[in-house]
């Protein structure tokens, strides 16, 4: 196996072995050893580069590939681009593909500046390497927070533009003409003076001697050939015929498959196990145990699953066996009543502004714990060998998986290889590698590769949840009814605190907990947003839309309350606060116009709107609903207007808005994770129900033309969904829902409850509580 050597120039984004670009099954057996040495070498080079003050910029791109010993004979300018003598250019994509279309989006950015046609490229998942593939916004090789497009926008185009410049220089040298007499297009360099052209693959020897250019100008929006168009996504053809490989689909020689029994209460332990019956089940080959779980290993999943039924297991439930939703809720309220908050964002003197306001209004909002429920249950295939470990998985955080498994196994990170696969949904679920570490904990007990699959029930019950929140919000209005002061006191757990390995020190603000509240699209002169940290005895995690999904629901619902309280139209009211925010103002106007805002609707029907600027994008959503006398919410039409800046692939942007909104509506309508005696009550799609096609109405998304820097879009729709829905429900029924998911009983027509569910007394009392003061 070749050893990686690095010259004086450290690689910008490093190099992976060419075989790593081929099919996964081939990769694993041929190349894992070489890769490990490669990473070790590159880390050393990185350390040297760092010592010289170098950052992963173009400066470090070395022609011909920095490692002469590598098997890849093509042009490898940095970590993202591989140009072979013949065949397609490969782009190595550091962001993971979980449906958002980032393989296509990042490939389009590079193809644009490299001047290759989109049918001349293919993509490969980046191996785990923070030094090479750390994403500039997250500062980690991870995919989340709608940062992939924003993080890649400059560096990837710069890398491709530099590579193109070097190829042009190589051709010019060959033809003895000045580089400015040459240009590149569709994978070839052309000469204006001699009329000749050469494909990139024919320039590999000449390009090796070219200097790495600095500060190559990037194209302006008017010059784009590919960006702004919507070519076929690179991943979708294989997803129509069953050939796409997700983590759960990986099959490696000698592999066995495990089904698990996991202590139903987190923090509990295995107390007693009798596996005699399980071992007698045909097809069962092993029964393994860790401190809090048992794995039955079979030739196939069914054997393992049958073996589980034959286990006799006793658990020590541990310290969380008394955790109940009611207690968690009470603790949140108690914390909000008694604890001192941490200041998040302050403009002006809120107490004084509130005292001076013509009118004040306040409300309390409550949000539930949420599971992710990706369609692909979590799973991992792990092969632990004495000298290393291979992991096949779809993860949003390959280096976190690598590092945590290495720690478990007592190995160096570079001994652990992660082969990332397509993710059958991420939504934050696959940012935390807990289930991968669990799989490794079993796999290290056996010599063969082990695929561990959690059942749907395990995937939901052992998820790390979106935190529950209890928020108290208030506004002081001026004589025109507009807010002159807004305060929002957020009480809930800290996702950042659970996510960061050292935790978040007490007294430190969790920026995620206040994101979407501390800064809104609106000009409100005085603002105070603070946070009371109340960690429930429940592990929490990022969930699609992160902080804004929670906070924008509260802000946008409450501003709707304010508008109605002063008898103003919710769209007009918002527009009055948007004089200084033309992009948000524009999307709001466009969405309202497209939706026919203000038109008369049948009884118990209404439109609601939401607006936010999250992840660098501006999104307005109008939701039209009808609420049946029995309190069933029927979605009638969805209309969004979006300004994402430059839309790299407009069709993908629209798809993300559609999908993100539907995802958010599903949760707002149906979802809450609750706990009884430490156990999660929900388990599968029967009791953690999801929206279905018959419940989703026509949806139109209007993309606003823009030449601003691209914003993130994967989570924006989810942020928009819940407030537009509940504002529409208010317009239809006069019932303000301040708690998610929506409570159908609150929406029943008076008297209907007698014949449907429960009695009218409870409904009437609830209505009284819920309707505006």
């Amino acid at each position: 196996m070749p050893t990686r050597q690095h010259g004086p120039h450290a690689p910008a984004y490093g190099l992976i072995e060419p075989d790593d670009l081929s099919i996964p099954s081939r990769r694993r057996f041929l190349i894992a050893g070489a890769l490990m040495m490669g990473f070790a070498g590159s880390q050393k080079a990185w350390a040297q580069a760092k010592g010289l003050g170098e950052q992963p910029t173009l400066r470090a791109i070395t022609p011909g590939g920095p490692d002469k010993g590598a098997a890849f004979a093509g042009f490898a300018p940095g970590g993202f681009i591989r140009i072979p003598r013949e065949g397609k250019v490969t782009f190595i994509i550091p962001s993971v593909e979980m449906g958002q279309g980032i393989y296509t989006g990042q490939a389009m950015m590079m193809a644009e500046e490299l001047e290759v046609a989109f049918d001349q490229v293919e993509v490969s998942a980046a191996p785990p390497d923070e030094k090479l593939y750390s994403q500039p916004i997250l500062k980690s090789q991870a995919t989340g927070g709608s940062t992939s497009t924003r993080g890649a926008w400059k560096p990837m185009r710069q890398a491709a533009a530099a590579a193109r410049t070097m190829l042009i220089a190589a051709a010019a040298q060959r033809w003895h003409v000045a580089p400015d007499q040459c240009f590149a297009d569709q994978g070839r360099v052309y000469c204006r003076t001699n009329g000749q052209s050469l494909p990139y693959g024919a320039l590999l020897d000449a390009v090796a001697g070219q200097p790495v250019p600095q500060n190559v100008p990037l194209k302006k929006p008017g010059q784009f050939k590919l960006i702004g168009r919507s070519p076929q996504r690179l991943d979708t053809p294989a997803k129509t015929d069953g050939s796409a490989i997700f983590g759960i689909d990986v099959r490696v020689p000698g592999m066995k498959i495990a089904a698990l029994d996991i202590c139903p209460v987190p923090g509990g332990r295995l107390k007693r196990l009798n596996d005699k019956g399980a071992r007698l089940v045909p097809g069962v080959v092993d029964v393994l145990r860790t401190s809090n779980a048992v794995a039955v290993v079979g030739d196939h999943f069914w054997a393992a699953y049958k073996g589980l039924q034959a286990l006799e297991v006793e658990w020590d439930q541990g310290p969380r066996a008394n955790v109940n939703t009611k207690g968690i809720r009470e603790a949140l309220v108690n914390a909000a009543d008694t604890r001192k908050p941490i200041v998040g964002g302050v403009i002006g003197d809120a107490d004084r502004a509130m005292a001076d306001a013509a009118r004040t209004i306040e409300a309390t909002y409550d949000l539930p714990f949420l599971a992710h429920a990706t369609m692909e249950p979590v799973n991992a295939t792990v092969h632990v060998r004495p000298d290393g470990c291979d992991i096949w998985v779809g993860t949003q955080a390959p280096t976190a998986a690598q590092g945590q498994v290495a720690k478990l196994l007592g190995m160096r990170p570079e001994q652990v290889m992660v082969y990332n696969q397509y993710l059958g949904g991420g939504f934050g679920r696959r940012l935390v590698p807990e289930h991968i570490v669990q799989a490794a904990d079993f796999a290290r007990q056996v010599p063969y590769p082990l695929k561990v699959i959690q059942t749907r029930e395990q995937d939901i019950r052992h998820d790390l949840f979106r935190p529950a929140y209890h928020d108290r919000i208030a506004a002081g209005l001026n004589g025109d009814g507009l807010p002159v002061v807004l305060t929002d006191r957020i009480t809930g757990g800290s996702v950042l605190g659970d996510y960061l390995s050292p935790g978040l020190p007490d007294g430190t603000i969790d920026t995620d907990a206040i994101e979407g509240a501390a800064e809104t699209p609106y000009a409100i002169p005085t603002v105070r947003v603070d946070w009371i940290r109340e960690n429930a005895p429940v592990k929490v995690n990022w969930w699609r839309g992160v902080g804004p999904t929670h906070n924008v629901f509260v802000i946008e619902s409450f501003l709707d309350e304010c508008a109605h309280a002063v008898g103003q139209d919710p769209v007009t009211y918002r527009l009055k606060m948007l004089a200084n925010n033309p992009r948000s103002r524009n999307v709001l106007k466009v969405a309202a116009r497209q939706a026919g805002w203000g038109k008369s609707l049948p009884p118990r029907s209404g439109m609601g709107v939401s607006l936010h600027d999250s992840f660098g994008s501006h999104v307005a959503l109008v939701c039209e609903v009808h609420v049946t006398p029995a309190g069933i919410v029927q979605l009638r039409r969805l209309t969004a207007a979006v300004d994402v800046g430059v839309a790299i692939n407009p069709n993908s942007v629209i798809a993300q808005i559609e999908g993100g909104v539907v995802f958010g509506l599903s949760a707002a309508l149906f979802n809450e994770v609750t706990f009884t005696d430490g156990r999660v009550d929900q388990g599968n799609f029967n009791d953690y129900r999801q929206i279905r096609i018959n419940e989703v109405p026509p949806f139109s998304v209007k993309l606003v033309e823009s030449e601003e820097e691209p914003g993130g879009i994967g989570e924006s729709g989810t942020v928009s969904a819940a407030p537009a829905l509940t504002n529409a429900i208010f317009a239809a029924t006069g019932v303000r829902l301040r708690k998610l998911p929506i409570d159908r009983e609150l929406l029943m027509e008076k008297g209907v409850g007698d014949n449907v569910i429960g009695g009218t007394a409870g409904v009437a009392a609830a209505l009284t509580r819920a309707v505006l003061p």
């Binding site: 045909p282 749907r456 599968n684 096609i693």
Partner: protein, 156 residues
């Protein structure tokens, strides 16, 4: 116990327990992983395959209940006119996001067109409501089914 299965026109002899769901035979014994595991209780539809052209949830279908019926999976459905039309429409409309549920969506859609070549919205809802998509591709699924059927569609 040995079973002779016809999968995508090919004969497979498998020696498996009588109660083993077809899903796991396809995935773990025969090696056709296009058919997915989602819920195990016929709630989500990602495991949908055809038996003699009719859609079934393979995660709850014991092998003993298959009998001599021809099994078609997403890997083979492109050989049928409806399956091919659905796959092409799925790409033309760019339905797919993560893609994990889409094998099942495509199988349900192809079966729908097999029995109803010109489905209206109600027929689409009835045929597709058993298939969950967490990425929220439903508006495009509806549009793509109409496109595959040669019907006008307002989406995209």
């Amino acid at each position: 116990m040995p079973y002779d299965l016809q999968v995508n026109g090919q004969a497979h002899r498998v020696d498996v327990p009588d109660d083993m769901p077809l899903l796991w035979i396809l995935r773990d014994v025969i090696g056709l992983t296009g058919t997915k595991f989602g819920c195990g209780i016929a709630q989500c539809g990602v495991c949908t395959v055809h038996l003699d052209g009719k859609p079934v949830r393979s995660c709850v279908l014991p092998v003993a209940a298959v009998g001599p019926r021809a099994i078609t999976t997403v890997e083979g459905v492109g050989e049928t006119p409806q399956g091919r039309a659905v796959q092409q429409a799925w790409l033309a409309v760019e339905v797919i996001q993560c893609g994990y549920c889409q094998s099942g969506q495509i199988m349900s859609a192809a079966a729908l067109l097999g029995r109803n070549p010109r489905p209206d919205d109600a027929a689409i809802d009835a045929a597709m409501a058993g298939n969950i998509c967490r990425c929220g591709t439903y508006p495009r699924i509806r549009a793509a089914i109409k496109k595959a059927a040669g019907l006008p569609t307002e989406h995209v």
